[in-house]
Symmetry: C2
C-alpha cells in the first residue's frame, strides 16, 4: 500500500505535514509506504530535527504549491508541478493507492472530479464525517458540504455510499440508515426529503430505519444519517461551536473530548474512482497523522471497488 501525502498543503505545512507523517509511519500496517510529495530539503530538515530516519519515506520532490487563496481550477491548470497536481497524476497512474491533503479544498475537488472522476452511475460525489456518540461506533453524517442542493435521487445514493462506508471502513455490520428530517412520520419534511423517503423505504441496498431528527445525531438510533450538503455542513459547524464552548467553559470531559475537531483526520470524497481524502486547512500534526491512518483504512477496505460493485447493479 502506497499512501500519497501532500506535504505543502495546509496552514501549518510543511512542519505539521512532515511531523504528522512521522507520527503516522510508526502506526501504519506493515507494507504500507508513505509517499511524501513536497520540498525535499524541508522534509529532510524536519526529519533531522526530530531525529527520524527519512529513508522510511519515499520523497517526490516539488516546491510548487497551490496556495489557500488560489483560484482552484486556474491553479490546477497553471501549477502542473504543484504537490496537489503531482499527487493526482500519481494516483491516476497507479503510482500511489490514495492521496490525502489539507491544502486548498477547491483544488482537491478539481483533481477529484477532473482527474479521478465520478464512479459510473454516481450523480454527484459527497463527503461524510464521523460524529462521536456514546456508543462504540461513531455515526456517519453525509453529505457535509459538497452538494448544497440535493434532489431525492442524490440523497438515495448517499444512503448507499454511507452504508458501504460504515460497513467497510467503520466496521458496522448492518448499518442502520436514517433520513434527516423534521419529524419522524413518513409524511413530514420538505419536498426533497418527502420524495427521498419514498425512494429509500423500498431500497434493498441499505437498511432504512426511516426519518431521524436533529437530536438523533448523537444518539444510537441510526449509524448513517443522510442529508443535503447545506444542512450537513450547518450541523457539523454547530457541533464544532458547541465543542468550542465546552473548551471555553473549561469543562473537561472524556466524551466531549471526542469532539476535538483539531484532531480530525479528514474525510474521503465518496463516489470517485480512487481514494482521495481532504482535511481542514488548520490541521495540526495529530490531525495529519489521523488523516494518513484514515487514508490507510480507506485503501485497505477497498472502498472504491466496493462502491463500483454496488453501483453496477444499482438504479440511479
Amino acid at each position: 500500500m502506497r499512501i500519497g501525502i501532500d506535504i505543502l498543503g495546509g496552514d501549518f505545512a510543511p512542519e505539521a505535514t512532515v511531523r504528522g507523517s512521522i507520527l503516522a509511519s510508526e502506526l501504519l500496517p506493515a507494507g504500507a509506504k508513505l509517499v511524501l510529495i513536497g520540498d525535499e530539503s524541508s522534509i529532510l530538515n524536519i526529519c533531522r530535527e526530530k531525529g527520524f530516519d527519512p529513508s522510511v519515506f519515499e520523497i517526490v520532490h516539488t516546491s510548487e504549491r497551490i496556495e489557500m487563496g488560489d483560484h482552484p481550477a486556474r491553479a490546477f491548470m497553471q501549477k502542473p508541478s504543484s504537490s496537489v497536481v503531482k499527487g493526482f497524476k500519481m494516483l491516476a497512474h497507479g503510482q500511489i493507492d490514495g492521496f490525502a491533503s489539507a491544502g486548498n479544498t477547491g483544488a482537491m475537488m478539481v483533481g477529484a472530479m477532473q482527474v479521478i472522476r465520478s464512479i459510473s452511475g454516481i450523480i454527484r460525489p459527497c463527503i461524510a464525517t464521523s460524529v462521536p456518540r456514546p456508543s462504540e461506533y461513531p455515526c456517519l453524517l453525509l453529505d457535509v458540504g459538497l452538494n448544497p442542493d440535493c434532489n431525492q435521487d442524490e440523497l438515495n445514493q448517499y444512503a448507499i455510499l454511507g452504508s458501504i462506508y460504515a460497513h467497510n471502513v467503520i466496521g458496522i455490520k448492518a448499518p442502520r440508515v436514517g433520513l434527516l428530517n423534521i419529524g419522524e412520520e413518513e409524511g413530514k419534511g420538505n419536498l426533497v426529503t418527502k420524495a427521498a423517503h419514498q425512494l429509500m423505504k423500498d431500497s434493498t441496498f441499505f437498511k432504512f430505519i426511516g426519518n431521524v431528527e436533529g437530536n438523533d445525531l448523537f444518539s444510537d438510533k441510526a449509524d448513517v444519517i443522510v442529508c443535503d450538503g447545506f444542512v450537513g455542513n450547518v450541523m457539523l459547524k454547530e457541533a464544532e461551536a458547541f465543542y468550542a464552548m465546552i473548551r471555553k467553559r473549561k469543562i473537561v470531559d472524556e466524551f466531549f473530548e471526542r469532539f476535538n475537531f483539531e484532531h480530525y483526520g479528514g474525510t474521503p470524497i465518496l463516489g470517485i474512482n480512487a481514494p482521495v481524502l481532504i482535511a481542514h486547512g488548520i490541521s495540526n500534526d495529530i490531525a495529519i497523522k489521523n488523516l494518513i491512518i484514515h487514508a490507510a483504512e480507506v485503501i485497505k477496505s477497498n472502498l472504491c471497488e466496493k462502491i463500483k460493485e454496488a453501483f453496477k447493479e444499482c438504479p440511479e
Copy 2:
C-alpha cells in the same frame, strides 16, 4: 392586558397549566389579567391545593379538549367548544389580547391561519426561537419549523420579522441580521440562500451583516439568524441533544443551563394579526409560567401592530 391561556393543552395539563398560571400571576405587570380557558372545577381544585385565591383569574369554563393525537383541522371543526377553539374566538373578538397553548400544535396553527390570519403582505408566517449565547441578549433563530421549503422572498421577510421582534421584544437596539449559509462569501450557498443574499444585501428594512455559518449560532456575530424551517428545526434539535448530553454527563455549568429547554416559554407565531404563542407539549409548570410571561411581553411590545406597520411600506 388580558392573556388567554389554554388550561387543557399539553401533556401535563391541567396541573402544569394551572400551576404555571399561579406562578406567572405573581410576576405579571399590574393590570394584566390571566384568562384561564378550561375545566372550572379542576382549576378551583388545583388552586385550593396550592392555597391560592382563584379570583385572581378569570375562568372561561370548558371541558372539551383537542387531544395531542387529534387531526388538527378536523378537531378544530368538530370540537367548537374546545379550549383551543374558544381561545381563538375570544382573540378574534378582542376579548383577550393574546392566546397561549402547549396543546396540539397543528390545531393551534389551524386557528392562527384560519381565524387570526396572516398580516397583509406576509407570504408565510414563521416561528422563532431565542438561542442562548454568552452575550447579554440571546440570538434569534427563524424559521424553526413552520416553513420547511422557503424561497428567497420568504427568507427576506423573515429577516424583517426577526429584526422587528429582536428590537421590540428582546430589546436589541439595531439587531444585526445574518443569513445562515455554508460560507461567509457572497457567492456561497444553495440556490435559495444565494438568491436571498442578493435581496437582503440591498434591504433598508434591517441591518444585514451578510452570511453567517452554523458555528455562529452561539456567537455574538448576528442578533438574528435567518434560515428555512427545515434547517432551523434541525439546528434547534441538535442544540437540545447537546444539552441533553451535558445533563447526562452530569456537567453543571451556569451557561449551559440556559439551554434547559424544559423551561422554554414557547414562541409566538410571527406574521399573523394577533399574538398567538405555542409551547412544547412536554411543558412543565415553569415552562408554562415562562410562556405566559413571554405572551405578556409580546402583547406589551405591540409586536403585531409594528409588523403590520412595516409591511405596509414593504415590498413583498
